[in-house]
């Protein structure tokens, strides 16, 4: 029998697709946002999320989980990297299964430098669809570090989400930067809190304009809902003629 190993390797090399195309994008399902992002969040890149106010850490976490959920559909894995200090400061991850990430794999790391190392290793791994990394200390993540991460993400083809704990304006090599805040949700019909609502503002976009949106998250369908148009609109009076309805007047 001839040596089987080189042959197999050669075949693999022939059949393996090259690095993922730049056009590969994750559509969020909201036409306005997808248009601005030229089709959706770029895969094989690093995106930054930061809270608009320090209180909005829950919203940032939720938005990251909601994005990551979109990528679990083909069976690839999600990895969450949590800095110990971040867990102390803003709480440990808890019910992310309500965002469609059951049995999520979490790596708890002691130092910022370890977050970056783990993030880079995970981004290089092709089996990982998305890596979410939380960093409480912003100074360590500079342009050089994010450039390294961006290159690792390009090789691996996964989506990197970098969660900051404070609004931050340092330069970075990320593809987009989002500022996430919680917004007042629309009450459901029974006096409950209603859907989780994010007030998003895209403050950096390498391939298009920026913008602001308000999005709701549907926990049952696991999908974003376009801005609720009925928000703040007065109910139409039942005894008026159709011509006087507020929708027609505009």
């Amino acid at each position: 029998m001839a040596e089987p190993l080189p042959t197999l390797l050669d075949l693999r090399r022939l059949l393996t697709p090259g690095p993922p195309q730049a056009a590969h994008r994750l559509a969020l399902g909201v036409p306005g946002i997808d248009a601005v992002l030229a089709g959706g969040l770029a895969l094989g890149a690093v995106h930054e999320l930061q809270p608009a106010r320090p209180l909005d850490q829950g919203a940032v976490t939720g938005f990251a989980a909601a994005i990551a959920t979109h990528l679990t559909r083909d069976g690839r894995k999600i990895l969450w990297i949590q800095h110990d200090y971040a867990a102390l400061e803003a709480g440990t991850l808890y019910a992310i299964e309500s965002f469609g990430l059951p049995l999520a794999l979490v790596v708890q790391v002691p130092r910022v430098i370890d977050v970056l190392w783990a993030l880079e290793e995970a981004l290089k791994c092709r089996a990982v669809a998305a890596v979410v990394a939380e960093i409480a200390d912003d100074d360590a993540v500079d342009l050089t570090a994010t450039r390294r991460l961006a290159l690792a993400a390009r090789d691996g083809g996964g989506l990197g989400l970098l969660l900051r704990h404070r609004p931050c304006a340092t330069a970075s090599a990320s593809a987009t930067r989002w500022e996430v805040a919680s917004a007042a949700g629309v009450r459901d019909g029974f006096g409950g809190l209603g859907r989780t609502t994010f007030a998003l503002s895209l403050i950096k976009n390498r391939c298009g304009p920026c913008g602001c949106w308000t999005l709701s998250w549907d926990h049952h369908e696991r999908a974003f809902l376009a801005p609720a148009l009925s928000l703040g609109v007065a109910q139409a009076a039942r005894d008026r003629s159709a011509r006087a309805l507020p929708g027609r007047a505009a």
Partner: protein
């Protein structure tokens, strides 16, 4: 093997006490300071353990003394036992100053028992330990010969002849029995060997007969190994010690190839690996790496150790170098070869490898999965379970019932609920405003209460209080999970408020 001067050797090794000056170790025995150990130089002057310090000082006023430290001695003995691992995996400790090595089946690797014995004595002497080593058929015989006639090789079957001239204490008897035997004129082992057993046992106890049987091999005496014997061991010895991390890693990779062959032959993969680095001066470093699934791939093994060495490498001071590198699989599990995809790389395997590498660097306990537990108390309802302990296929995914459009449980939970100052309109109603981390928040809307009782059936003093949880949206849109501790009026009159989690 008897470390004759363990206490003074330790002092000389660790504290740099001079070897050519008399040195004694003292401890209070029966309200007098007595010598418990002396070094070779002091022994030559006629000092013996058991002598009172005052007598010794009267003979030699300049005698140097140090306090006895039995714990440190045991520590040193354990370190020597670790080092002796290079000769055989079966090393037992015989307190206070002996080691028992089972070299059956190992001696030929060192060119026979005599050569092994010489090598052991030479190396330990170079490390500053004075030892007397005896190799014999039985533990009892080896112990007696090592303690009472010095280093020797007792030929097979000659135990009786060697033991006969030794004093009775060489049988490992309690001092009381030796004294009682001396009273009736029995001083040598030869005196008791041929006597009828029944009267001996009746007069001096069963222990005497048992010890004689053990020494002559009529009764079995197992060794209790200090470390578990691993199922797979491969090792490499170097004539010239290696010190560079690159070389250590290279030799581990070579050993991994051999280990791979062994594992493959039995269809197993390693779950827990250990690399033991034997430093020339006797220190042994053991580096353990766990895996999430059975592994026998050479490249994966090498990379796991590369990660581990990157983190613990600084703690391994190579000194003058390592002369033995040993790789062992401590835990192995069945691992059947799997058909891999030709075109598409196998994601599961690649992901398992990533987990192992992260685990090797940060510790496998830090790579966790969040799993719903069958407990209603929020702190424990979702637990972080180490990923390698979870069988993904067996894990059931429990999704909490959703009774509203939003999430029922927060996405982030504080391990320690943070106290807040809250103002409520009615004692058991939701708060209207609260102060958290020095900021005031006005409540726009609240859902609740969701009453969660702690496990009162375990609490006999009635100290745990019931919690009323509220899901709250502030006027700024932030959603938090707060609770009031204690039922107003029934459990407490001044309920305290806590913030437990953040919603998305």
């Amino acid at each position: 093997m008897w470390l004759k001067r363990l206490a003074t050797d330790r002092l000389a090794r660790c504290l740099g006490a001079p070897r050519d000056a008399p040195l004694a170790v003292i401890a209070p025995v029966k309200s007098a300071l007595r010598l418990t150990a002396v070094n070779g130089e002091a022994a030559r002057l006629g000092l013996n353990p058991g002598m009172a310090l005052a007598d010794a000082r009267a003979m030699y006023p300049h005698l140097a003394c140090a306090d006895a430290d039995p714990d440190a001695d045991q520590h040193m003995l354990a370190a020597v036992a670790d080092w002796c691992d290079r000769y055989t995996p079966l090393v037992g400790i015989d307190p206070p100053d002996g080691l028992i090595l089972d070299v059956a089946g190992c001696a030929h690797l060192f060119d026979g028992e005599a050569a092994l014995c010489r090598d052991l004595v030479r190396r330990l002497h170079a490390q500053g330990c004075e030892v007397q080593v005896a190799i014999a058929d039985t533990v009892g015989c080896a112990w007696g010969v090592a303690h009472y006639s010095g280093s020797a090789l007792v030929p097979a079957g000659a135990a009786r002849d060697w033991l006969a001239p030794l004093p009775l204490a060489a049988l490992r008897l309690a001092p009381g029995i030796v004294e009682a035997l001396a009273h009736v004129g029995l001083k040598r082992i030869a005196d008791v060997l041929d006597r009828p057993r029944a009267p001996l046992a009746a007069r001096f106890g069963q222990d005497l007969v048992r010890r004689i049987d053990q020494a002559l091999g009529r009764e079995d005496e197992p060794i209790t190994p200090r470390l578990p014997v691993p199922p797979y061991v491969v090792e490499r010895r170097f004539a010239e010690p290696i010190a560079l991390e690159r070389d250590v890693l290279g030799s581990i990779a070579h050993l991994a190839c051999e280990l791979h062959r062994l594992l493959e032959r039995r269809g197993e993969g390693a779950r827990l690996l250990q690399a033991a680095l034997f430093r020339t001066d006797g220190k042994v470093y053991r580096i353990e790496v766990g895996t999430s699934a059975p592994v026998r791939d050479v490249d994966r093994l090498r990379r796991l150790f590369a990660e581990k060495l990157a983190t613990v490498g600084d703690a391994c001071d190579p000194g003058f170098g390592f002369d033995v590198v040993r790789l062992s699989a401590l835990v192995a599990e069945r691992c059947d070869p799997q058909q891999t995809g030709l075109a598409v790389p196998d994601h599961d395997v690649e992901f398992a490898h990533l987990i192992d590498r992260l685990g090797a660097r940060f510790g496998l306990r830090r790579v966790v999965r969040l799993m719903a537990q069958d407990i209603h108390i929020p702190e424990f309802a979702i637990a972080a379970v180490p990923a390698h302990a979870v069988k993904t296929s067996a894990a059931t995914v429990q999704v909490m019932e959703q009774d509203s459009l939003g999430s029922v449980r927060p996405i982030r939970l504080f391990a320690r609920p943070e106290p807040i100052e809250a103002i409520a309109e009615v004692p058991d109603g939701p708060p209207v405003r609260f102060k958290w981390r020095r900021m005031m928040h006005d409540v726009a809307h609240a859902e609740g209460p969701e009453r969660i009782a702690m496990d009162w059936w375990r609490d006999e003093d009635g100290r745990t209080l019931t919690r009323d949880y509220f899901r709250i949206e502030s006027k700024a849109g932030v959603r938090v999970w707060v609770y009031r501790e204690g039922l107003y009026g029934r459990e407490t009159t001044e309920p305290r408020w806590f913030l437990h989690g953040l919603f998305a």
